[in-house]
């Protein structure tokens, strides 16, 4: 998300073929070409680079009404990084980050703490109690504070030494997921190091166009991870992992002293169920009767095995039946805070997802993205929605 001008040449690679229409959840929901990736990029270019289109609230909306799911970039036959260009357009649009001083302050506080603390926590809990927000109540302490330190293998000689990076949601809102991750890893012979000093991965700052904050986050985390000298770096969050593994090395300026370190760390970073399905379980799961379906989050595919890992792993639990929904990788509409900012579009995307999910008659939906979890759970007659690692942990109880 450096200067949008950096992408000038890549923008010219757009053949205007319109194939991105087939992949963009926002276009699919609205059926307006204004919201197709081709047009979003053209509008950004005309307005922010060439000054042939006047800046307006509508231009900002077009650039903001994007989930940053990355399907356009992944599917573009010309290889145009449309999603990265949209994020760069946000930085150009909001040199100090999106929103007023209060929103920016809250984002900074949230990123620096990797979760909700103090007044922010109280406000979130009040909203939750009043039913204004779909989030659960937040405990007083963050996971990384409670569990900082080294956790030895509970199953013989350690097979690997891992740093566990709990994403902001697992660290603050869904600490059940972080607890489960720690438990399953140690039960399977992995030594786990929880580092208190790490901060948010940077994705929320990236989405808000706040370049300064995002680089701060990346630098701090790369430093901590490089110092930890682990065999692997595991996270339960699909977005944090994608961001640390794929985005961080690209976003740090090439002359940044940490850029090389970020590149070296990347091959060590895995989502926890992906990692476990690759190295195999050594603690046999107990019986658990459940019909389960897996919603693949947008920020998947940072390894070739990611998209199938939870299916492979959970199928090893006796009594668990994995049922695949139609288009398991279709977006649910959450997109970080997209569902709050653009509820109308998000709702349309969610309805399609829920119809597909309903057809599976699953009692449980698993997904590695906390935004998906919250948003899917908020739908009427949603199945119980949780991280796949929770189900595995439950089978060990």
């Amino acid at each position: 998300m450096s200067d949008i001008a950096v992408y000038k040449e890549q923008m010219e690679k757009c053949s205007h073929c319109a194939f991105c229409q087939a992949f963009c959840p926002v276009f699919e929901a609205e059926l307006l070409e204004t919201f197709m990736p081709r047009a979003r990029m053209e509008i950004a270019r005309a307005c922010l680079l060439e000054n042939t289109l006047e800046r307006s609230a509508r231009v900002a909306e077009v650039i903001d009404r994007c989930l940053l799911c990355g399907r356009c970039s992944k599917s573009c036959p010309g290889g145009v990084p449309v999603e990265a260009i949209t994020a760069a357009a946000r930085s150009a649009l909001y040199p100090h980050g999106k929103g007023g001083p209060l929103r920016r302050h809250m984002l900074r506080h949230f990123c620096q703490n990797r979760g909700l603390l103090g007044l922010h926590r109280q406000a979130a809990n009040l909203a939750s109690r009043r039913g204004w927000s779909p989030l659960p109540q937040v405990g007083e302490k963050l996971f990384a504070e409670l569990y900082a330190g080294n956790w030895p293998s509970k199953n013989g000689t350690p097979r690997a030494r891992a740093v566990y990076f709990a994403g902001c949601a697992a660290n603050s809102l869904y600490t059940d997921t972080a607890d489960a991750t720690l438990k399953v890893l140690t039960r399977n012979g992995i030594e786990v190091n929880v580092i208190k000093e790490m901060v948010c991965c940077g994705m929320p700052a990236y989405a808000a166009g706040d370049r300064e904050l995002l680089l701060e986050c990346i630098r701090k985390n790369v430093e901590s991870l490089a110092n930890a000298d682990a065999d692997v770096i595991l996270t339960e969050c699909s977005t944090c992992g994608m961001f640390l593994k794929q985005k961080a090395p690209l976003l740090l300026p090439p002359d940044d002293p940490l850029a090389q370190k970020a590149k070296e760390l990347a091959p060590k970073i895995f989502e926890v169920t992906d990692y476990l399905s690759q190295v195999g379980l050594i603690a046999a799961p107990g019986r658990l009767e459940a019909r389960v379906t897996y919603h693949i989050p947008c920020h998947s595919a940072w390894t070739p095995t990611f998209d199938d890992a939870p299916n492979k792993l959970l199928a090893q639990i006796p009594g668990v039946e994995m049922v695949q929904m139609a288009e398991p990788n279709a977006c649910c509409g959450a997109g970080g805070s997209f569902f709050a900012d653009f509820a109308d579009t998000a709702e349309k995307i969610l309805q399609k997802k829920m119809a597909d999910m309903k057809n599976t008659k699953a009692e449980i939906c698993v997904t590695q993205c906390p935004a998906c979890r919250t948003y899917i759970q908020s739908a009427a007659d949603a199945p119980e929605t949780l991280h796949p690692i929770r189900l595995l942990a439950k089978s060990y109880e």
């Binding site: 010219e12 690679k13 757009c14 053949s15 205007h16 073929c17 319109a18 194939f19 229409q21 087939a22 059926l31 307006l32 070409e33 204004t34 197709m36 047009a39 053209e42 509008i43 005309a46 307005c47 289109l53 006047e54 307006s56 509508r58 231009v59 077009v62 573009c76 036959p77 010309g78 290889g79």
Partner: protein, 469 residues
């Protein structure tokens, strides 16, 4: 909503279906040919019924406002670009499949139905709709009819018009007509249905289409033929056609095309051929096996380097997916590309390929070939590493010469993309003045004020075709 036009249109379609903001209008300037994004609409409207389309056209014709119908905006001729402004009628929200009738092997769809979505809906019923423009993931059936869209299956199954039995269309003054029917044979007066096929939005707006379907072939197989020259590949195509064994798809690919496609083909095609033929054979399992045997023998007799049948379904699918993306793919290796659509009789393919090679050398332009050779539709693409006045001029020169070359061989200037703006200067070379004059008289009967998609198919003549721009 600013301005009277937007407000007036909202009265017809309701709020949320009319766009007048400059950012929105900017999004509707171009199709897949960016060169023709020279104008922008004054408003975009997204009707949801034939009646709304009729009301929009009544409104526009009463005021002499230009109207440009639009499907996905994925066309390759500039056909849906609103170069003179006016109203863009975007049909993407008319996207219902109105009925599928297996007992009659027909279906009725709204114009905005996306082709792949239609195929996905009828596939599980054992039904098959062959037309396969390579933009099938996004293009709309209304747009397919309006441009006579084809695709690789043209060689065996023909193109979109061959599957159109009837339609609902709105004339420029808002009159709704329903030419044709769900009958598979019809002989009642002029064939108005097929007058709309290829009309590119110049006669009216297609809102619904009756389509003819086929039973899904029980088996299919994919094979790759490696050839030592482009001329050899062209000769093999001509020989296959005259042998009477017609593949469902028969694609011509240069070594360069295969090189860019290899990013999707899995495992990549490793070969030292100068040109390749990619074919699919379909039918009953016995027929497929027999055809494969015959075609392999024929290819080997002609001295090709290799014939390989791709047994693995996933691998075969990767070839066809790569083929579908070939056009945007090419832009990973060139800065600019002009894609040509000249089509020649199949027996003339070897000569056409030879002359293209000579032209490429003479003008110093890289010409990529990746065409539907089986139906003579070669899609030579002109590739440029720089975009400037000189390359633009060269491209114009080359297009003109390719068009003349195709016509000299008894070909046609467009096989499946349509004329739009890209070919309007050449139409007279193929049709002659008399036919164009006749077409203009026909248009006047459908669109007396000349409001429908001005400037397409033939150059705009102010005063003779409605109002000044």
């Amino acid at each position: 909503m600013a301005g009277g036009l937007g407000r007036d249109l909202e009265e017809i379609t309701g709020a949320g279906s009319v766009l007048v903001n400059p950012a929105d209008l900017y999004a509707y300037r171009s199709d897949a040919t960016y060169d023709y994004a020279t104008g922008k609409p004054d408003a975009v409207v997204l009707p949801q019924s034939t009646e709304q389309v009729a009301a929009i056209l009544r409104y526009a014709s009463a005021r002499g406002i230009f109207v440009t119908p639009r499907g996905a905006g994925s066309g390759l001729s500039g056909g849906c670009t609103p170069i003179f402004g006016g109203i863009v009628v975007d049909l993407k929200r008319m996207n219902r499949i109105l009925g599928v009738n297996p007992g009659n092997m027909t279906a009725t769809v709204e114009a905005g139905v996306v082709l792949d979505k239609f195929k996905a809906a009828i596939g599980p019923m054992g039904l098959f709709y062959p037309p396969d423009p390579q933009s099938a993931s996004v293009c709309t059936i209304g747009g397919n009819v309006a441009t006579r869209a084809g695709g690789p299956r043209g060689v065996k199954y023909g193109t979109t018009p061959h599957y159109v039995l009837g339609l609902t269309a709105v004339l420029a003054d808002g009159t709704i007509i329903r030419p044709g029917s769900l009958c598979v044979k019809q002989s009642v007066g002029y064939d108005i249905t097929h007058l709309f096929a290829g009309s590119e939005g110049t006669l009216g707006i297609i809102t619904q289409v009756h389509l003819r379907l086929l039973p899904k072939p029980k088996a299919s197989a994919t094979a790759v033929v490696t050839c030592n020259s482009a001329e050899q590949a062209a000769s093999v195509v001509s020989a296959i056609i005259s042998a009477g064994t017609v593949p469902a798809m028969l694609e011509f690919l240069t070594a360069m095309a295969v090189m860019v496609m290899n990013s999707i083909i899995s495992p990549p095609l490793a070969g030292d051929g100068q040109a390749y033929l990619l074919m699919e054979i379909d039918g009953s399992p016995e027929q497929v096996a027999a055809d494969l045997k015959n075609l392999s023998a024929l290819c080997k007799d002609m001295g090709v380097m290799d014939v390989r049948v791709i047994e693995d379904q996933k691998e075969a699918a990767s070839y066809w997916k790569a083929r579908a993306s070939l056009y945007p793919f090419i832009l990973t290796m060139a800065k600019k590309m002009v894609i040509e659509d000249v089509t020649v009789p199949r027996n003339q393919l070897p000569e056409f390929v030879k002359r293209l090679g000579e032209l490429s050398a003479r003008l110093g332009i890289l010409i990529g070939l990746g065409g539907h050779a089986g139906d003579g539709n070669m899609h030579p693409s002109l590739l440029f590493s720089e975009v400037n006045e000189q390359t633009r001029e060269k491209a114009e020169q080359a297009v003109e010469q390719i068009v003349r070359m195709g016509l000299a061989l008894g070909g046609t200037i467009s096989g499946e993309h349509g004329i739009g703006l890209h070919k309007s200067a050449f139409v007279e070379w193929e049709l002659g003045r008399e036919q164009i004059a006749l077409m203009k008289r026909i248009k006047a009967a459908f669109d007396p004020d000349g409001i429908m998609n001005p400037g397409k198919i033939w150059p705009y003549e102010a005063g003779r075709e409605g109002q000044e721009a």
